[in-house]
C-alpha cells in the first residue's frame, strides 16, 4: 500500500487515491517514425529491478498527473515531481545514486 507525495496538491496520497500510469518520460513517436521506433514507444518498457520512473495520477484527489522515481524492489520513493518535466530533477537523481551508484535509465543517469 504505497503512499506518494502529490507535487500538485502537496499531500501525501494513499495508493487508493492514485492511479498508476506506466513508464514516465516516454518520447512519443507518431507518423514518420520507423516501425522500430513506434514499437519501442508503445511496447518496450523499462522493467528494472530497482529505480523506476513512472507516471501516477492523483485520480481521487486533485486529478493531476505527476511523476515518481520508485524502487520496484524496496518500494522506496526517491521523489515525485510534476508531470510537466522533461528529465528527473537532480536531487532525485542524487537520491538514487546514493542507493544505486552507476544507475542508468534510457538517456538519464
Amino acid at each position: 500500500m504505497l503512499t506518494l507525495h502529490c507535487p500538485n496538491c502537496g499531500i501525501q496520497a494513499d495508493e487508493t487515491e492514485l492511479a498508476p500510469g506506466g513508464e514516465a518520460h516516454l518520447k512519443r513517436y507518431g507518423p514518420g517514425s520507423s516501425d522500430d521506433e513506434f514499437h519501442s514507444y508503445l511496447f518496450t518498457r523499462e522493467n528494472p529491478r530497482g529505480p523506476h520512473f513512472e507516471r501516477w495520477r492523483h485520480a481521487a484527489g486533485c486529478g493531476k498527473w505527476f511523476l515518481a522515481a520508485r524502487d520496484t524492489v524496496t518500494l522506496e520513493v526517491y521523489g515525485t515531481y510534476p508531470a510537466q518535466t522533461l528529465e528527473p530533477p537532480q536531487d532525485i537523481k542524487d537520491a538514487i545514486t546514493a542507493k544505486h551508484p552507476g544507475w542508468q535509465w534510457r538517456e538519464f543517469s
Binding site: 503512499t3 492511479a19 512519443r28 507518423p31 510537466q84
Partner: protein, 1004 residues
C-alpha cells in the same frame, strides 16, 4: 479429570454464571471464561478431531496459536466455523459444536485413518489414486474432499445477520501488543506527545506478565501494569484498543487491525467486526512469544498441553487440568508451571527435564524444595491414553526410546520446548531474522528491518517479540524500542525488574533425542494437519530439501494456525535430516493475517445496495415507477425496456421500436458522457484525439467523431458540438465518460501541457432527453418556446433556447434514423422537462423507450455501436469508416498505428450487413465458417456476427458482422455455425443499412 478450582482465577467472575452448550449439552461457565477454559471446567478435554487422521484432540494452548480446539460457533445466519475456543470469550447462551467427525466427537468413523496412518504418510496421495483415471474425479476426490475440510460450511442461503465496518487511523506510532512491553513502549512514545495507537488482541492488558509474575520497580508486576495503563489512559494523544489484533503490516507503514466488537456480546448493537486501516509513521511489534511443544510419542493426546497454557488456565481461570500434571521441558520456564500447580494444591508427580545441569537453578531449587521429583536427562518415551492422558512412560533422553524406566500416572502433561518470538508482523513486509543459537529461536535482525517510502526502517520489535525472554530484558527492550521508533534518547532508565535467574535452555527437537521410527511416527509437529516428525524426515529423504518444498509436501504449517506451534520444530527436524544448520535451511514466508480475519470485515460496509452505489439519472425514479426493466451499464442503470402491464420483454421492445418509428419515443440519454473542451487550442487538441477533423467545425454545428487509442484501435465515438470558437462539447459513450475524460487529461497534462486547453466532465450536470420520431417536432412546437423548424435547426445543428421556460440546448442529431432532437437541460430541470414531454406528448402517442429499442433502431440504420462492432481489436477501417478518418491531418492518435503491417492488411475482416436466408435472427457472436482447418485442427473461420436483432420494422432478423473481403462479396451467402459447431445457418451478405437508406426520415 479437569475441573474448576474452588478459589482463584484472576479473569473470572464466579458470581456471573453463564450457561452455554457444547454439542447440544448444556454446560455452565463464568463471566471471563474463554470457551476453552469453560469446557475444561466441565471436564470436556476432548474438543475436536484432527484433519487427516481424525485423531481425538484437546486444547493444547491458551491463545491464538491453538491448533486443535476449533469449534463451530452459533447457529443459522450467525453460524461461524473454525472458531478457536481459546480466543472465544464465553457469553450466556453461547452454542458451540465440535468439528470434523461423524457421527460424533466421541465416536468418529473417520478415526479409522489413525489405524491406517502408517499407509498414509506425508504426500501419499501424490503416489496413489492414479488408476483408473476416471476414479480421481468420481471416487477418490469426492471421498478425500468429504473427509478433508474442517468446520461445517454455513448453509448455502445464509445471509450474514451482522454488519462490519472500516476505520481509518493516521498515527505517528502504532504499537501492536498490549503486554508489558507494548504498554511500556506506548507510554514512552506517548510521553513524546506523538499520536499513538496501541492495540491488543485479547480483552486484557498485560499479556503474560501477570501470570508469569515478578516484581518491577519494587511493585508486583500486576500493579506496575495497572500504573502503565492508568498513565496511558490519561494521555489524550494515546488511543488504546483491546480485542483488536494487529493483522498485517504492509508497505509504506500501512497496517491492518481487526477489532472484534461484539463476538463476546452478540446482543450488542452495531457492527460485529471493525477493520482498521492504519497508516503509521513507525510500527512497534510487541507481539510476545509463543511456547513450542516438544516432539515425543503421543504428544497429541488430549491432556498434553503447553506448560504456559497450563499455567494460564490455573491462574487466569482457576482450572485444574487434572489432579496430576507431569512437566516435561528443556528449559527453566516450565518450572513456573510446576510451582503454580503446587501452589494451588495440585500434584506434580514429576518434572522431566531433558537437560542435565551441574547445579540447580533458582526455579529448579524452588521446585525441589516443594517436593517435586525432577528427572534430569530424561524424556517422555510415550504418553499413555487415547482420548485423554492416563500417564507417561519415561526413558533416558539420550536413548532411542523403548527402554521405559518408569510409568507415571497423570491426567495432564505440560510441555515446554522453549519459546519462539512472534516475528510474523515483523516479517510481513520484509523484516529479516537471525538465528539465536543460545535461545534456539529466530529473532528480528534490527539491521534488516522493513523499509518504508523513504528507505527508512518503519517496524521495530519490542520485548519478547525481539527475543527478550526475561521480565527485566523485556522492559529494557521496550524502552529501547521506544527510542528506536521515536529517534529520541531515553529520558529515564528502564524500569528495574526482579526475576529469578534461569539456567540456559538446551535445544530439544525430538524426544528422546535418538527416537526410533516407531516413536517418530507418533510424535506430532503440526497437530491440526497431522504432520509428524517422520513425515518431515520422509520429505527430506525424498529430496524435498527446501523448507518450502517440505512444507508443501507434508502440509506442515499450512493449517489454520499457520504453523505458530509447528514451524520451528519442523524446521529443526528438516535441518537435522539434511545435516544442515537451521539458519541455512531458513523459514517459510510469513504472510498476513496474523490470525484469520472474517471476510465480512474485509468487505466492510459496502454490501448489498451500497456494494457499488448505482448512479442515477434525474429520470431514473420515473422510469423505475413506470416499468423499467433495468440493465447495468457501467455504474448506471439504464432501462432495457419500459414494460406495460401484461407485456413480455420482447413485446415491449418491439412496441417501443414501432411507436418511435411511427409516432414519438422518448429516451433518457442522460448517461451519455458530456465533456467540455475549452481553450485556444481546443480545436487542435480534438484534431489529435479524433480521427476526423474537428477544428473546422463551425459553432452551432455538430459532427460525429471517432477516437482511437495510440495503438490504432477504436475506443469511443460520439457527437461533438462546437459551442463557440474556443469551446467544444464532446459526447462520449455512457460507459466511456470517465475514462475518456482521463484520457484527455493524460495527454493534456503529460504531453501537450503547453497547449491552452481545459477539460471538464459535465456528464452529471446535464440531463439529456432524446425526442425521437415523426412527431418529435410537433411535441416541441406544442410545448413552445423556441424555433425547432427544419430551417431554423437543421440536421447536425444545435441551438440554445427555452422550452416552456426551461433553458435547454437542443441538438438535432439522430441515432435512430428518425427525426430526432436531443435536449440537454440542467439536471435539476430534467425531470420537469421529461414530465412535460410525457404529458404534452400524449396527443402524439408518446412512449418512452429503452436501450434495446435504441440498439435495434441504430442497427436497422447500420450505425455501429462501441462495444458491439468494436471489441478493442477493431480499427475504423474495418468498419468502413474511412470517411471519418482525416487524410489531411498530419497526425492524430492511431494514425501511425494504422500504418503497421497487420493493420494495413488487405484481408482484414470488414463490416457488412447480414440477412439470414430464412429470416431468422442470427445467434449473437456466431462465426462464419470457411474451408478446412488450421494447423492446430481448428475450423477455419471467415467472419463473425457483431450485432444481431429481430427488426420489428422489417419483420425479420438483421445483423451486422465482420467478414473476410465482406464488402466485395455483396449478395453472397455464407454459413454461420451454432454453438454445437455443426448446425449451420445461411446468411446473405448485404448493405449494413437496412432501413431508410437515403436518410429521408430524419431529413424532414
Amino acid at each position: 479429570m479437569s475441573t474448576r478450582l474452588a478459589t482463584g482465577g484472576r479473569l473470572i467472575d464466579r458470581s456471573k454464571q453463564q450457561s452455554f452448550t457444547f454439542n447440544g449439552k448444556r454446560l455452565t461457565g463464568c463471566a471471563g471464561d474463554t470457551l476453552a477454559s469453560a469446557l475444561l471446567a466441565n471436564d470436556q478435554m476432548l474438543m475436536g478431531r484432527s484433519f487427516k487422521y481424525h485423531r481425538p484432540r484437546g486444547v493444547v494452548a491458551s491463545g491464538a496459536e491453538e491448533p486443535n480446539a476449533l469449534v463451530g460457533l452459533g447457529t443459522g445466519a450467525r453460524f461461524e466455523p473454525n472458531q478457536r475456543a481459546t480466543t472465544t470469550e464465553l457469553f450466556d447462551g453461547l452454542s458451540a459444536t465440535s468439528q470434523n467427525h461423524w457421527p460424533s466427537l466421541e465416536f468418529d468413523v473417520g478415526a479409522v485413518n489413525t489405524k491406517l496412518a502408517r499407509f498414509l504418510p506425508a504426500g501419499f496421495y501424490y503416489k496413489t489414486f492414479m488408476w483408473p483415471r476416471s476414479f480421481w474425479k468420481h471416487v477418490y476426490e469426492p471421498v478425500i474432499r468429504q473427509s478433508a475440510g474442517l468446520g461445517k460450511a454455513p448453509d448455502a442461503e445464509t445471509r450474514d445477520a451482522d454488519t462490519y465496518e472500516h476505520f481509518y487511523a493516521y498515527v505517528d506510532h502504532l504499537v501492536i501488543g498490549g503486554g508489558i512491553a507494548g504498554l511500556e513502549t506506548a507510554k514512552r512514545l506517548g510521553e513524546t506527545g506523538a499520536r499513538v495507537l496501541l492495540v491488543e488482541q485479547t480483552a486484557h492488558w498485560g499479556g503474560r506478565a501477570p501470570v508469569d509474575g515478578g516484581e518491577v520497580e519494587g511493585q508486583p508486576v500486576t500493579e506496575y501494569i495497572a500504573g502503565l495503563l492508568a498513565a496511558l489512559n490519561a494521555m489524550e494523544n494515546v488511543t488504546l484498543r483491546s480485542r483488536t489484533m494487529g493483522a498485517g503490516i504492509y508497505d509504506h507503514g500501512y497496517a491492518l487491525a481487526y477489532e472484534r466488537l461484539s463476538d463476546h456480546a452478540p446482543t450488542t448493537q452495531g457492527p460485529r467486526h471493525r477493520l482498521w486501516r492504519i497508516r503509521a509513521g513507525q510500527i512497534v511489534t510487541a507481539t510476545g512469544a509463543i511456547e513450542r511443544p516438544l516432539s515425543f510419542a503421543g504428544n497429541d493426546i488430549p491432556g498434553v498441553m503447553l506448560a504456559s497454557a497450563v499455567r494460564d488456565y490455573v491462574e487466569n481461570w482457576a482450572i485444574s487440568p487434572g489432579d496430576r500434571t507431569v512437566i516435561v521441558t528443556n528449559n527453566d520456564d516450565a518450572y513456573r508451571t510446576a510451582l503454580v500447580l503446587k501452589s494451588h494444591g495440585l500434584d506434580v508427580p514429576a518434572i522431566i527435564d531433558a537437560r542435565v545441569l551441574p547445579t540447580d537453578s533458582a526455579l529448579m531449587a524452588e521446585a525441589r524444595a516443594k517436593g517435586i521429583a525432577i528427572h534430569q536427562g530424561h524424556a517422555i518415551d510415550h504418553v499413555m491414553g487415547t482420548k485423554r492422558v492416563r500417564g507417561v512412560a519415561i526413558c533416558s533422553h539420550a536413548g532411542e526410546g523403548g527402554a521405559v524406566i518408569e510409568e507415571i500416572p497423570c491426567e495432564c502433561v505440560a510441555m515446554s520446548g522453549g519459546w519462539s518470538p512472534v516475528v510474523h508482523l515483523w516479517s510481513h513486509c520484509g523484516g529479516k531474522l537471525n538465528w539465536d543459537q543460545a535461545n534456539a529461536m529466530f529473532r528480528p535482525d534490527l539491521t534488516r528491518a522493513p523499509t518504508g517510502d523513504k528507505g527508512q526502517a518503519f517496524v521495530t520489535p519490542a520485548g519478547a517479540a525481539n527475543g527478550a525472554m526475561t521480565l527485566g530484558d523485556v522492559l529494557e527492550d521496550a524502552v529501547a524500542a521506544a527510542e528506536r521508533a521515536s529517534g529520541d534518547t531515553r529520558t529515564s532508565d528502564a524500569p528495574k525488574a526482579v526475576v529469578a535467574v534461569e539456567a540456559p535452555l538446551a535445544p530439544v527437537w525430538m524426544m528422546p533425542q535418538g527416537a526410533s521410527i516407531k516413536h517418530r511416527m507418533k510424535a506430532w509437529l503440526d497437530y491440526q494437519n497431522d504432520v509428524k516428525v517422520s513425515d518431515v524426515q520422509l520429505a527430506a529423504r525424498e529430496g524435498f530439501e527446501s523448507v518450502e518444498h517440505a512444507k508443501r509436501y507434508t502440509t506442515l504449517g499450512m493449517a489454520t494456525d499457520q504453523g505458530k506451534l509447528s514451524n520451528i520444530n519442523g524446521l529443526a527436524i528438516l535441518s537435522g535430516a539434511l545435516g544442515a544448520e537451521i539458519p541455512q535451511v531458513g523459514t517459510t514466508t510469513f504472510r498476513p493475517p496474523y490470525t484469520p480475519i472474517s471476510m465480512g470485515a474485509i468487505a466492510g460496509e459496502a454490501r448489498a445496495e451500497i456494494f457499488q452505489p448505482i448512479r442515477k439519472t434525474p429520470i431514473h425514479d420515473w422510469l423505475d415507477k413506470n416499468g423499467a426493466e433495468w440493465e447495468p451499464v457501467g455504474h448506471w442503470r439504464r432501462p432495457y425496456c419500459i414494460k406495460q402491464a401484461g407485456e413480455t420483454t420482447e413485446q415491449a421492445v418491439h412496441r417501443e421500436v414501432k411507436n418511435t418509428r411511427e409516432n414519438l419515443g422518448l429516451l433518457d440519454a442522460s448517461t451519455l458522457g458530456k465533456l467540455i473542451v475549452k481553450g485556444k487550442d481546443a480545436g487542435k487538441f480534438l484534431d489529435m484525439l479524433y480521427t476526423n477533423m474537428m477544428s473546422t467545425l463551425k459553432p452551432g454545428r455538430c459532427r460525429y467523431g471517432l477516437m482511437c487509442n495510440e495503438n490504432g484501435f477504436l475506443m469511443d465515438d460520439g457527437v461533438v458540438a462546437r459551442i463557440d470558437e474556443d469551446t467544444f462539447l464532446c459526447h462520449t459513450t455512457s460507459g466511456g465518460a470517465d475514462h475518456i475524460h482521463a484520457h484527455m487529461e493524460d495527454w493534456l497534462q503529460c504531453e501537450w501541457w503547453d497547449w491552452d486547453v481545459y477539460v471538464a466532465n459535465v456528464t452529471e450536470q446535464y440531463g439529456q432527453i432524446a425526442v425521437v420520431g415523426p412527431n418529435a417536432r410537433k411535441v416541441l412546437e406544442a410545448i413552445g418556446g423556441m424555433d425547432v423548424s427544419k430551417e431554423a435547426l437543421t440536421f447536425m445543428g444545435w441551438a440554445d433556447g427555452e422550452l416552456a421556460g426551461i433553458p435547454v440546448r437542443v441538438y438535432r442529431i439522430s441515432f435512430s434514423g428518425e427525426l430526432s432532437y436531443e435536449i440537454a437541460v440542467k439536471a435539476s430541470y430534467a425531470r420537469e422537462l421529461w414530465d412535460l414531454l410525457m404529458s404534452v406528448g400524449k396527443q402524439f402517442n408518446v412512449m418512452p423507450y429503452g436501450t434495446e429499442a435504441l440498439h435495434i433502431m441504430r442497427a436497422e440504420k447500420g450505425f455501429i455501436m462501441i462495444g458491439d462492432e468494436t471489441d478493442g481489436t477493431v480499427i475504423p477501417q474495418d468498419l468502413n469508416l474511412h470517411w471519418a478518418i482525416s487524410k489531411k491531418k498530419e497526425d492524430f492518435m492511431g494514425k501511425r498505428a494504422h500504418e503497421r503491417a497487420d493493420m494495413a492488411r488487405e484481408d482484414r475482416w470488414k463490416l457488412v450487413g447480414l440477412e439470414t436466408v430464412d429470416g431468422s435472427v442470427l445467434p449473437d457472436g456466431a462465426y462464419a465458417v470457411g474451408e478446412g482447418t488450421n494447423a492446430n485442427g481448428q475450423r477455419n473461420v471467415i467472419g463473425r456476427v457483431t450485432s444481431t436483432y429481430h427488426s420489428p420494422t422489417l419483420g425479420r432478423g438483421i445483423a451486422m458482422g465482420l467478414v473476410l473481403h465482406g464488402p466485395d462479396r455483396m449478395g453472397e451467402v455464407i454459413r454461420f455455425a451454432k454453438t454445437d459447431g455443426t448446425t449451420m445457418i445461411d446468411a446473405k451478405i448485404v448493405d449494413p443499412v437496412f432501413y431508410d437508406k437515403d436518410g429521408e426520415m430524419q431529413n424532414v
